[in-house]
Symmetry: C2
Subunit: 256 residues, 2 copies
Amino acid sequence: MDKHDSCHKKGKVFVVGIGPGGAEHMTTLAVETIRGSECIVGYRTYLEQISEYISGREVISSEMMKEVERCRQAIELAVGGRRVALVCGGDPGIYAMAGLVFELAKKHNLSVSIEVIPGVAALNACAARLGAPLMHDFAAISLSDLLTPWELIERRLRAASEADFVIVLYNPRSKRRTEQLLKARDILLEFRSASTPVGVVTGATRQNERIEVNSLENLADCAIDMQSTVIVGNSQSFVWDGFMITPRGYCNKYSL
Amino acid sequence: MDKHDSCHKKGKVFVVGIGPGGAEHMTTLAVETIRGSECIVGYRTYLEQISEYISGREVISSEMMKEVERCRQAIELAVGGRRVALVCGGDPGIYAMAGLVFELAKKHNLSVSIEVIPGVAALNACAARLGAPLMHDFAAISLSDLLTPWELIERRLRAASEADFVIVLYNPRSKRRTEQLLKARDILLEFRSASTPVGVVTGATRQNERIEVNSLENLADCAIDMQSTVIVGNSQSFVWDGFMITPRGYCNKYSL
């Protein structure tokens, strides 16, 4: 019996990934899950993004930085017997709210059914817009030190650089956190050439989308904000026709 | 002017991610792109997965391991003026065919318009089915040494383990490649406790889906094949109610 299907509790929290921005990047299951829920809980901006699917339902909108509150509300509604969609941008399982829902349920020992509906994450969408930068082994690192000690972030930047991973930087810069990206660049420059391709996608698949391909040494000149994801190439990555590409290795094995 | 929209060449290759298996995990854009294409090129199994969307169109099906041929055919059709959907399982940008299409176009200096349509990758889907294992920094590493020297794979396994990344292992085992997973486990055990949670998802979201949560020391006992993705937790990952969860760090900052 599948643990995901065997739960007979009435209420349920669906943690739903709505993709990077454009509604056309939502999966059918995400749309259907939201349509089939009694309550929709989420950050205001994400709810606006899916407004066509939520009319006529109970909607609980909250502001940014209220993640704990949002997850708690979703769980309480489910414990009360409701079918709840907790919406997340991108994929709920990558730097979003899936983990927090489980942590809260565990902490308070709540008997509640939880299902995560995956979505196209920022890293998937940004890579697609840049070309094909993630075609080889990669590491995703968040530069936000609000919940993680900066020393650990630095250790991971060094390890990923040294072992020639392509590196995806989440939360590269905000209004308050401006130094972390410069420190990260300096660490990467210890291990990679100054000309290493760097791609920056801001507001991927949204109306304000900006795409920039530059080099590691010029990273500080790129326009980077809270909506940006940065991808730093490995030693083999190259730029062609405006696209950023990391080879998978076919060229070494086959004559293309 | 956006380079992705400004191309007036008639033919075009869309490299389309159809998600992990279940048709409900395709995005609207992937479905529309396939429906709007004149030719559909892909590996037989993937074409069966999307059979409802491709009837009445020219379909070029190929066997496994024919990636170079498949990409070349798609490009040639586009150079000839056709709108072509080259379908990939998961996300075309993660260990799939997006990079190869660009590499071939570059190599042969072909003037062809290319667009990547992202999808839910194996790592997104497997994480969702396991709970929330990717909530903190993670590294994706393919254990296939067909295109990558094993020494480089080992170096990346060591670096990712040492810096406490959650680790996603792609291509963990095939009929021919059985030793790599055991070697990887031994490297990980140098840095992580034997009880580190490990999640294995095989055939994610397909009818034959199998989900197993076990520990690093028992990794060799798990049923793992070509359709499996393995996620190894970091030092903070835990198992609760059958789910595998990596905390994001809210517990340290807030009272949940």
